[in-house]
C-alpha cells in the first residue's frame, strides 16, 4: 500500500507537468492576450509591457522561466490584470476563503445527502422516501444561480437578517448563504446516488443471505451494506470535493466572498496567464491528491481491491 502511494505521488509530478504544458499552450493559442483591450495600445507601449512581463520571449523560454521560478523561488509570477498583486498573493488570499466555505458546503452536502439517501433506501416507498426524493429534486431544481438571488432577496432584503455579501474574515453570518447556495445541488445528487446504490446493495445476494440468516436489519445495514453502498458515492465525491474546495464562481460572484472560484474563470476570460496557470496547478495538485485518496478509500471500502 505504501509503495503504491509513493508510486502515485511520483507519477503526480509528470502529471502536473503535463497539465501545465497543456494549459500553457492552450492558453497561448486562445485569441487575444492579457493586453488586448477595447482601445488598442500603441505598438511601442505594447512592446514595453510585453517586455516587462517576458511575453516577448519565445514560448518555450517563457514556459521554462515560469517553471524555473516556481521550482527555485516558489514564485508563480505577477498577475497581468491586477497589477498590484502576484499570483502567490491571489492564491494566498483566495484559497483559504474557498477552502472554508467549500469544506463546510462539502460536509453539509455529503452528510445530509448520504443520510437522506440511506434513509430513503431503507424506508423504500414510504413517506420518508418520497420526502427525501422530493428534497433531492428540489435541491437539483434550484441551481446556484437561482439560489443566490433567492437567498439574498429573502434574508437580506425581506427579512433583513443577514448581510447581502462579503466575507469579513469568515464570520458565520457571512457564511450561511454561500454554504446553502453551494451545497444544495450536490446534496440532491449525493442523496440520489446513495439511495440507488443502497437499494441495489440491499437487493444483492449477500444481504439476502444475511437476512435469511436472521441478522437484525440494523446490523445488516451498518456492518454489511454501508461500505459497498458508499463506493460509487465516493467516486462522485472526489471531483466534487476538488471543485468545491477551489470555490465556486457563482458564490464569489453573488456573495462577493473573494474566493478563488472567480479567479479561475475570470483569469481565463481576461487571459491573465500567470493567474490562470497558478490556479490550474493548484487545481491539478488537488485533483491528483483527492483522486489518490479516493482510490485508497476504495481499498478501505472493499478490501478485495488491491493495487
Amino acid at each position: 500500500m505504501l509503495a503504491y502511494v509513493v508510486r502515485r505521488l511520483l507519477v503526480a509530478i509528470p502529471t502536473i507537468l503535463l497539465l501545465v504544458i497543456a494549459s500553457f499552450f492552450l492558453m497561448h493559442t486562445a485569441p487575444g492576450g492579457p493586453f488586448t483591450s477595447e482601445r488598442p495600445l500603441p505598438p511601442a507601449v505594447l512592446a514595453n509591457i510585453q517586455a516587462q512581463y517576458g511575453l516577448d520571449q519565445p514560448l518555450w523560454k517563457q514556459l521554462w522561466d515560469y517553471l524555473y521560478n516556481i521550482v527555485v523561488h516558489f514564485d508563480f509570477g505577477p498577475s497581468f490584470v491586477q497589477k498590484d498583486r502576484s499570483v502567490n498573493d491571489i492564491i494566498a488570499r483566495g484559497f483559504p476563503i474557498s477552502l472554508t466555505y467549500g469544506t463546510l458546503s462539502f460536509l453539509a452536502a455529503s452528510l445530509v445527502g448520504v443520510a437522506l439517501g440511506i434513509a430513503a433506501a431503507i424506508r423504500h416507498n414510504t413517506w420518508l422516501d418520497y420526502f427525501a426524493v422530493s428534497l433531492g429534486i428540489a435541491a437539483q431544481a434550484l441551481p446556484n444561480f437561482i439560489m443566490g438571488p433567492i437567498l439574498i432577496l429573502t434574508f437580506t432584503l425581506w427579512l433583513g437578517l443577514l448581510p447581502g455579501g462579503g466575507w469579513n474574515g469568515g464570520q458565520w453570518e457571512y457564511l450561511i448563504m454561500p454554504v446553502i447556495a453551494l451545497s444544495t445541488s450536490y446534496m440532491g445528487n449525493i442523496a440520489r446516488i446513495t439511495r440507488s446504490s443502497m437499494l441495489e446493495i440491499l437487493n444483492s445476494n449477500f444481504i439476502r443471505t444475511a437476512r435469511a440468516k436472521g441478522l437484525p436489519t440494523r446490523s445488516i445495514i451498518w456492518r454489511h451494506a454501508m461500505k459497498p453502498t458508499l463506493l460509487p458515492v465516493v467516486s462522485y465525491l472526489g471531483p466534487v470535493f476538488v471543485y468545491v474546495l477551489t470555490g465556486s464562481v457563482f458564490v464569489d460572484l453573488y456573495f462577493s466572498t473573494g474566493g478563488l472560484g472567480q479567479s479561475y474563470v475570470s483569469s481565463a476570460l481576461t487571459r491573465d496567464y500567470a493567474v490562470l496557470l497558478g490556479v490550474t496547478i493548484l487545481y491539478g495538485a488537488l485533483t491528483v491528491v483527492v483522486n489518490l485518496l479516493t482510490d485508497l478509500a476504495y481499498a478501505w471500502f472493499d478490501p478485495k481491491i488491491r493495487y
Partner: protein, 309 residues
C-alpha cells in the same frame, strides 16, 4: 486451491447456464418490469407530453420565437403578463417576445442538449472507466492520469478554443458538452469495475473460460448499469445548465434561439422586478424534465438490475 476452483467452475457453469436459458428473454423481462413500474411509466407519459408540446406547441403559438411585440415591449410588467387574450399564453420576455414560443424552442434545445450530452457521457465515460478499471495496472494509471489532467485544465479555455477552431454550430456544442461530461462518469465506472472484478462470479466466469470481452459485456456491464443510469440521469440537468455557460462564451446557440438554462438565468436575474412568469414557465419545464429523468432512471435501474430477477 482445488476446492476453490472446483467451486468456481460450478458457479461458472451455473452462471453460463443461467444466461443461456434466460438470455433471449432478458430484454423482454426488463421491459416487463419497467412497464409495471407506475412512477416510471407516469414519467414516460409526462416526457412524451413534453415532447408532444415541443412538436405540436408551435401550431398553437400565435407568434414566432423571435418576433417582438412592439406595442407591448415598453411595459412588460403591465402588459406582458401571461394572457389568453393577447395570445401570449406564457407572457412576454424582457424584450417583448412571446415566451410561449420561446419556451417551446428552448425546451426542444435543452432536451436535445441534455439527452445527447448525457448519452455521450454515458458511452465514452463507461467505456473509458470499464477499460481502465478492468485491465488495471499501467493502462489504468495512464488513463486515469489523463482524466486527472482533463479535470484540471480550465474548461473555459477549452471551450474558447473549440469555438475558435470549429466555429459556432450545434455539433460543436455537443462536442464541447461531451468533452467535459464524461470525466466524472469514467471515475465512477472505474471505481465500480474495480470492486466488481474481485467478485466470485467474475472469477468463476473466467475459470469457466469466458473471454475477457465476454466478461466485460456479460458480467461487468450489466452490474454497472444501475449506477451508470442514475448518474446519467443526474447529468441531464447538469448538461442543460452547462449549455448556458457555454453559450455565454459564444459557443453553442445564439439569439434569437434560446435554451431553458438561459431563460432560467434571465428570469432569475429579474425575479424581483414583477415579471416572475419569466422565471416560472421555463423553470416549470426544467423541473418537470428533472423529475421525469429521476423516475425513468430509477425505473430503468430496477428493471435492468441483473440481481433483481
Amino acid at each position: 486451491m482445488f476446492g476453490k476452483s472446483e467451486k468456481a467452475a460450478e458457479l461458472a457453469a451455473d452462471v453460463t447456464d443461467f444466461n443461456a436459458i434466460r438470455g433471449r428473454s432478458l430484454f423482454r423481462d426488463a421491459m416487463d418490469r419497467f412497464l409495471r413500474n407506475k412512477a416510471a411509466m407516469a414519467s414516460v407519459v409526462v416526457l412524451l407530453l413534453i415532447i408532444a408540446f415541443v412538436l405540436f406547441g408551435p401550431l398553437f403559438a400565435q407568434y414566432s420565437n423571435e418576433e417582438i411585440d412592439w406595442a407591448r415591449m415598453g411595459d412588460i410588467k403591465g402588459m406582458g403578463a401571461p394572457s389568453l387574450e393577447t395570445g401570449h399564453y406564457f407572457g412576454l420576455d424582457e424584450l417583448g417576445r412571446d415566451l410561449f414560443a420561446r419556451t417551446i424552442q428552448a425546451t426542444r434545445t435543452s432536451l436535445l442538449v441534455g439527452l445527447i450530452g448525457a448519452g455521450m457521457a454515458l458511452i465514452v465515460g463507461t467505456a473509458w472507466g470499464v477499460i481502465a478499471g478492468y485491465y488495471g495496472g499501467r493502462l489504468d494509471s495512464v488513463m486515469m492520469r489523463f482524466v486527472d489532467i482533463m479535470l484540471a485544465i480550465p474548461l473555459t479555455l477549452i471551450l474558447i478554443l473549440i469555438l475558435v477552431i470549429a466555429g459556432r454550430n450545434f455539433v460543436t456544442l455537443f462536442v464541447a458538452l461531451g468533452a467535459v461530461s464524461w470525466l466524472t462518469m469514467s471515475r465512477i465506472v472505474r471505481g465500480q469495475t474495480l470492486t466488481l472484478k474481485t467478485r466470485e462470479f467474475i472469477e468463476a466466469a473466467r475459470a469457466g473460460g469466458v473471454s475477457e470481452t465476454g466478461i466485460i459485456f456479460r458480467h461487468i456491464l450489466p452490474n454497472l448499469i444501475g449506477v451508470v443510469i442514475v448518474y446519467a440521469s443526474l447529468l441531464v440537468p447538469e448538461m442543460i445548465l452547462a449549455e448556458s455557460f457555454i453559450s455565454f462564451l459564444g459557443l453553442g446557440i445564439s439569439e434569437p434561439m434560446t435554451s431553458l438554462g438561459r431563460l432560467i438565468a434571465e428570469g432569475a436575474g429579474t425575479m424581483n422586478y414583477g415579471t416572475l412568469w419569466q422565471l416560472l414557465f421555463p423553470l416549470f419545464f426544467y423541473v418537470t424534465i428533472i423529475i421525469t429523468m429521476f423516475f425513468i432512471g430509477d425505473g430503468l435501474r430496477d428493471a435492468l438490475d441483473p440481481k433483481d430477477r
